[in-house]
Symmetry: C2
Subunit: 469 residues, 2 copies
């Protein structure tokens, strides 16, 4: 049984993902406590935030993006919506980096090296950071002793950042007046969402955008790879057809290859935007469609030809710009952002993910015990808190919180763990038909369809309601 | 300048305070995480709670008292209101002990011995304990996967316990449906309440219940003590007149005496109930009046006689039952509950308290820096977080929380830091004219006046509203 591939990044960051800087922000740092919840640990560290005062006019609010599992500049450059609407609100725009990611390392390059240093990598600490930075910026830009209504901050976030935006409003409603939580799967956790829904959603994106046979061929692909991998010649053939940097050698390599392939499918679905993007990696518009177009049933019975054509198709994701020499299927294992995210995925943000006959993936079961074992053997992470998210944020019982918009693209695989219905008058949902991952947080684009445009209008109306303007 | 007496217990527990057990509860223990906010610290410890199923009928709610700074049985025996109204609601009644107090010691008798062991003594950890225990009891008594509405828990608390009840609802509104926060001075912290108001309130109780000259004589008392303490004979005279266990020797002893005396005045005001009580210590009805009655102006000019009469008056508080041999002015310094409370008072629950010409106390200034220095020199507590309460619970900005009743006796000295006005439709205040400290949380008494009765009706109406019954 495969127990790997448990640690899908919500947003799987590939380092060469940013090529252009569309928005100009000032980079600042603020000293924050290493531990907000202890009175003994008194160390501090520098947390990075980016700020733009360009559109800020006295009386205007602050839009604050609660950073995700990666360097904050990536999210700043891919959340154009904040900049697009800042002028009409006269808003200050701020992006705060999540501790342990990017440059915000509590113990420098030693941050991820020991349990003792990793112990402060928790969602509670991250939320406390955001509240702390916001109070500091409130004083700087609005003056002291103001109420949340006279110096309103609005939280924004997409994906994990969206969860944090919602949770920030939930836990610190005196810090932010409301939260736009885009594609925030706050229920993608044990006891809240069945493990099979994520892969089903990925599959449905391929069914919707690919040709009829696409998912069928992807399914066959797993078997072909497994069969071919049984011989040395087969391993070599796959390695060269897919331009792997290092030839496949053994079963472990093959397992890694299958995970790598799974992640590509997932990321294609997550990034299936209607125009070319550079968020996860440079991609064409509708990359799922482009990928599937490369696969035809004509080589159904020819394993080698099928593998070769898979190789061409994969280049859509791995090498769209044509500048990459080879594919390193272990390439991100040393990426500190991924190490940090795996740590969070093992300890608090435990996302049950399995594959069933309803989807196009190879069979993967999921059980909490197996998961915990995997965290221990693979990452030496002993402490997992199965019920953390429910304990800390209430699970389905969120109706007593207020002022949150949950937006989800209905073809976003992560929408399976999202809030798709109104919970109360002030916790509301907007669903984007055919929408991918937090598409409406991106900048306006001439090709945006009405669903995306309406979601943005929904956000603007909510913000106006909160601001009472 | 006096910088001592900074650590007034909100409820200054004297160990011989309980003589009778009016209510029968089962004692249980539950393993809770030592650290709810770290994923590295995996130890657990036994938290004590008391439970009564006597009135619980299926469909009824659970009333849960969030324990204060002392052994939980004291609060269970002095919060009869919960038992009085449990039958009409078919309610389960639970009292949860606060970590580091009573029997709930994370590291046994080593809990208070080192910063490393004390680091988990924080309000955040205590609140997380309560939420954790409640989820466990929800499963045991109501079944799994129920929502907060189908298995409603209502939080109750008085004084610091009232603050915790309110904060629990604020931070975990999916854990408790609402909170009755009685005499909860959630604003008795830096930047929220002026330092002089507490002693002013104490003084006003003595003005209201004592004879006209009472506060005047108390004021003169400080001078007399200071003058008399200048000679050995004077020290000896005070020591014997006031039955001190150990004769006063030096200025430091005198300083301690003044603090001891201040605390007695404070506790008399806090306990100025309209019937005899045994909460802090055995006391007659209206102890402030009884105390003041012992002091007459006839010995205004006779220092010795005045000191002697003060001695008689003090016995109202120190020896009402007539069984005590002598008064140890250091008596509680070794009490672990007091050590724990001083720690909390130094680190998070920093209460600005000064005396001015408006009150009957000797002059005491207050500054945060002096306070921090005192914590360091006196208790070796280095880490103080001046802004903790505002950062963690929003200060005045609480209107986005819901379902909290703040009740205050208007003659309760702690009401100066309480919420005395409605904040929103669901965060409401009920003020008890002439009321002392959390009087309405006590059991019904034939002598209860209409103010107290009405406050209880107010609570019952709120609970019904929350339960929708």
């Amino acid at each position: 049984m495969h127990i790997t591939n448990l640690f899908i990044l919500l947003v799987f960051l590939v380092n060469y993902g940013i090529c252009t800087s569309r928005y100009t922000l000032e980079t600042n740092y603020i000293e924050v406590p290493v531990d907000h919840f202890s009175t003994v640990e008194t160390r501090t560290f520098k947390l990075r935030y980016l700020i733009s005062t360009k559109y800020h006019v006295k009386g205007g609010p602050a839009f604050v993006y609660t950073g995700n599992e990666g360097p904050i500049d990536i999210f700043a450059q891919n959340s154009g919506f904040l900049f697009d609407i800042a002028p009409r609100f006269n808003a200050l725009v701020i992006f705060i980096e999540h501790r342990y990611y990017g440059q915000s390392l509590p113990f420098g390059n030693k941050s991820l090296t020991s349990p003792e240093n990793l112990r402060y990598l928790t969602t509670s600490q991250a939320l406390a950071d955001y509240a702390y930075v916001i109070e500091d910026l409130r004083k700087t830009y609005f003056g002291t002793m103001l109420t949340i209504d006279t110096s309103p901050f609005i939280a924004f976030g997409g994906s994990y950042g969206g969860m944090l935006a919602a949770w920030l409003r939930m836990k610190y409603p005196y810090s932010v007046l409301g939260a736009i939580a885009s594609s925030a799967p706050i229920w993608y956790f044990p006891d809240l969402t069945p493990c099979g829904t994520f892969y089903e959603k990925v599959t449905s994106v391929f069914e919707r955008y690919g040709k009829e046979e696409c998912t069928k061929m992807i399914k066959i692909g797993w078997d072909i790879i497994n069969k071919m991998s049984k011989t040395k010649a087969g391993l070599k053939f796959i390695s060269s057809s897919w331009s792997l940097c290092k030839n496949l050698q053994n079963a472990q390599d093959v397992e890694r290859l299958l995970d790598w392939l799974s992640n590509i499918y997932i990321n294609l679905a997550l990034s299936n935007y209607h125009y070319p993007t550079e968020f996860l990696t440079p991609l064409p518009a509708y990359p799922v469609k482009v990928f599937c177009d490369k696969l035809t049933t004509s080589y159904f019975n020819d394993s080698k030809s099928l593998i070769e054509h898979f190789g061409y198709a994969l280049e859509i994701y791995t090498n769209y710009t044509g500048t990459k020499q080879c594919n390193n299927i272990n390439s991100t294992i040393e990426d500190p952002n991924e190490v940090a995210w795996n740590y969070q995925s093992c300890t608090e943000l435990i996302r049950p993910t399995c594959s069933t006959e309803k989807d196009m993936f190879f069979t993967k079961t999921w059980s909490y015990d197996e998961f915990a074992k995997c965290c221990l053997t693979r990452y030496n992470i002993k402490s997992q808190r199965r019920n953390w998210v429910i304990n800390a944020f209430g699970g389905f019982n969120i109706k007593y919180f207020s002022n949150i918009v949950f937006s989800n693209g209905l073809l976003d695989p992560l929408s399976s763990g999202g809030v798709l219905r109104n919970i109360s008058d002030t916790i509301v949902a907007v669903n984007i038909t055919d929408g991918p991952h937090h598409v409406e947080l991106r900048n306006y684009d001439p090709s945006d369809n009405n669903y995306v445009i309406n979601a943005r209008k929904f956000h603007i109306a909510a913000i106006k309601r909160w601001l009472d303007v």
